[in-house]
Amino acid sequence: MNEQHELEHHVVSPKTYIIIFLALLTGTALTVLASYIDLGEWHIAPGITLFWNPVVNLAIATGKMLLVVLFFMHVKYSTKLTKLTVVSGLFMFLVLVGMTLSDYFTRAWGRW
C-alpha cells in the first residue's frame, strides 16, 4: 500500500524546486538575450522563409513550460492518466492552431 502511495504522492524536495527555479530564471534571461540577436532566417523554398528568432523564443518558452509542468506541477511523478491529460491538452491546442492555420497557409496554393 505504501509503495503505491509513494508513487501517487511523491513529495518533491525543495532542492529540486530551487534548481528548477534557477533554470527558469536562466531561461528567461536566455530568451531575452536571444531576442536581441538577429539569428537570421532559413529559406526553405522560394517564398517560404523560416525566421529563427521566433522559433528560438518559442522553443525556450516551451522548455520553460515543460519544466514547470514536469516539476512544479509534479507531472513527472504523476499517474499515466495525468500525463495523458496533459498531452491531450497540448494535442488539442495544436489541432486548433494547426488546422486553422493550415487553411490560411494553403489559400494561395495553385494560384501562382
Binding site: 488539442m92 486548433l96 486553422t100 487553411d103 490560411y104 494553403t106 489559400r107 496554393w109 495553385g110
Partner: protein, 556 residues
Amino acid sequence: MSAATIISLPDQSTARIPKVNFLTKENGLLSWLLTTDHKRIATLYLISITFFFFIGGALAGLIRLELLTPQTTLMAADTYNKVFTMHGVIMVFFFLVPSVPATIGNFLIPMMIGAKDLALPRINLLSWYLYMIAGCMAIYTMAAGGVDTGWTFTTPLSTHYLNTHVISTGLAIFVAGFSSIFTGLNFIVTIHKMRAPGMTWFRLPLFVWSNYAASILMVLGTPVLAITLVLVVLERTMHIGVFDPTYGGDPILFQHLFWFYSHPAVYIMILPGMGVISEVVSTFSRKRVFGYTAVAFSSVAIAIFGFFVWAHHMFIMGISNYAALVFSLLTMLVAVPSAIKIFNWAFTLYKGSITFETPMLYAFGFMGLFTIGGLTGVFLGTTGTDIHLTETYFVVAHFHFVMVGGMLMAFLSGIHFWWPKWTGRMYPEKISQLAAVVTYIGFNFTFFPQFILGMLGMPRRYAAYPPEFQALNVFSTAGATILGVGYLLPMLYLTWSLKYGEIAGDNPWQATGLEWQTQSPPLTENFAEIPIVDHEAYDYEWLEKQTAARQQQEVA
C-alpha cells in the same frame, strides 16, 4: 398491439413506493435548491430543460406558421429573424446540449457505475445554477426585444451591423457553456475515479461510454466558443476587433473558432442519445449489445474525429481548396463510426426476444431517422454536393433529422425507459405508444419535405420566399402540428403518472444495469451497500441467476 411484454410489476395491491427515497428524504424548497444529490439536480435539470424546450418549441411553431404562406403574413421580417434566432439559441444551448447528459446522465451515471454520487457534487449544483443564470439571461434577452444574429453569430453582422441584444445573448451562452464544461468535467472524473469495485472499463454500460465521449467534447470544445463570444462582445463594445475586416480583422477566423466548438457540439448532442439507444435496444431484445467493444470505441472515435472536421461548414466561404479537401476527407471518416453503431444496434435484435414498449418504439424511430440524418450529412460533407445544398433547407432538414429525429427521440426514449426508476411509477403504456407513433409520423411530415425544398434551393432563414416553394412548406407546417401533439402528450401523461401511475418496483424491465438493482426511486446514496461487480454489462444470464437467488431468499 400484442400483449407480449416484459414489464414485471409488483402486485399493485400490496406494492408501496419505498418510504425513504431521494425524493422524500428531505422536504422544502431549500432542500432542493441546496441539494448536492445528483438525482435531485437531475430532476431540477429535467424541469428546467422541459421549460426551455417548450419555449423553443413555441418559437418553432411560430416559424412554421409564418412559412405557411410565401409572404410575411404573421410577423415582420425582423421579428421572424428574432424568432428563429431565439429558437436556435434556446434549442441548442438550453435544450439539446444539456438534454440527455444533464438530466438522464446526471441521474444515472453514478448509479450505473456503482457510486454514491458524482465526484464533485457541489460543482454539479453550481453547473445547474450557471445554467439557470444563463437561462434567465436568455429570457431577459427575449423580453428586452430579442436578438437576430442567428444562433451562428456570423461576424461582422453580429459585431457591427445589428442593434439588438447580442451582448446579453453572447454572455448567456458563455455562462451556459461553463455549465456544460462543469457537467462534462464532472462526468469524466466520476467515470475515471468513482467506479465500484469490479466495474472495469469494459463492464461499463454503453450509456456511460457515450456520455464519457460527449464529456470529452464538452471539456475541450466549449472553452473555444467561450473565448470567441468574449471577443465578439469586446468587438461590439470597443468597435475594434479581430473579426471585422473594416478594422483589419478576419471574419473567416470567427468561423473557424465558432465551428471548432459548434461542430463537435453536434456530437455532444447526439452521443448521449446513442447511449440511451444502446441501453434500450439491449433491454427490449433481452440480449447483450452486438459487438460491445465496437460500439464503445465508436463513441470515442466520434468524439476524437469530431474535432477534426469543423471546416466542412465553410466550404463555400472561401477557405483554401486544399483545406476543404482535408476537412471533407476527415468528415467521411467520422461518418463511419455512426454507421457501425446503427448496424450493431440492428444486429442486437438478431436472435433476441423482442418486445415493443414505448422506449423501444422511440428507439426504432431514432434508428430510422438518425440513419437518414447521418446519410444526408454525407451529402453535406462531400464538397461537390455541399456547394449546392449548404445554406438551404437541406441543411435544416439534415440537422433536424439528427437533432430532433435523433436526439429528441432518444431523450424521450430514455425518459420513458427510466421514468419508473426516477419516480417509482409507470407511465401509461398504450397512450405513450400512440405518442411515439404520432411523433414519428409528425416528424417525417415536418422535415422530409424540407430535403426537397433544399434541393430546389430554398435558402434557410427566409421570412418570405418565392411562391413555388409553398406546397412543400404547407406540408411541413401541417406535419409540425402533428409533431406538436406528439410532444404535448408525454408532457401530460407523464405528469399524470406521477400520482396515478402503477407502482413500478425495482426492475420493471428486467434490465441488467446496476441502477435497476436498487429501489425505485433510489436512496439518496443510491445503494444500501456499494455493489461489487462481477459480470459484464448486459449479462442477462447473471440477471436470471440473481433473480432466482432473490426469490429463494424471499421464500426462505
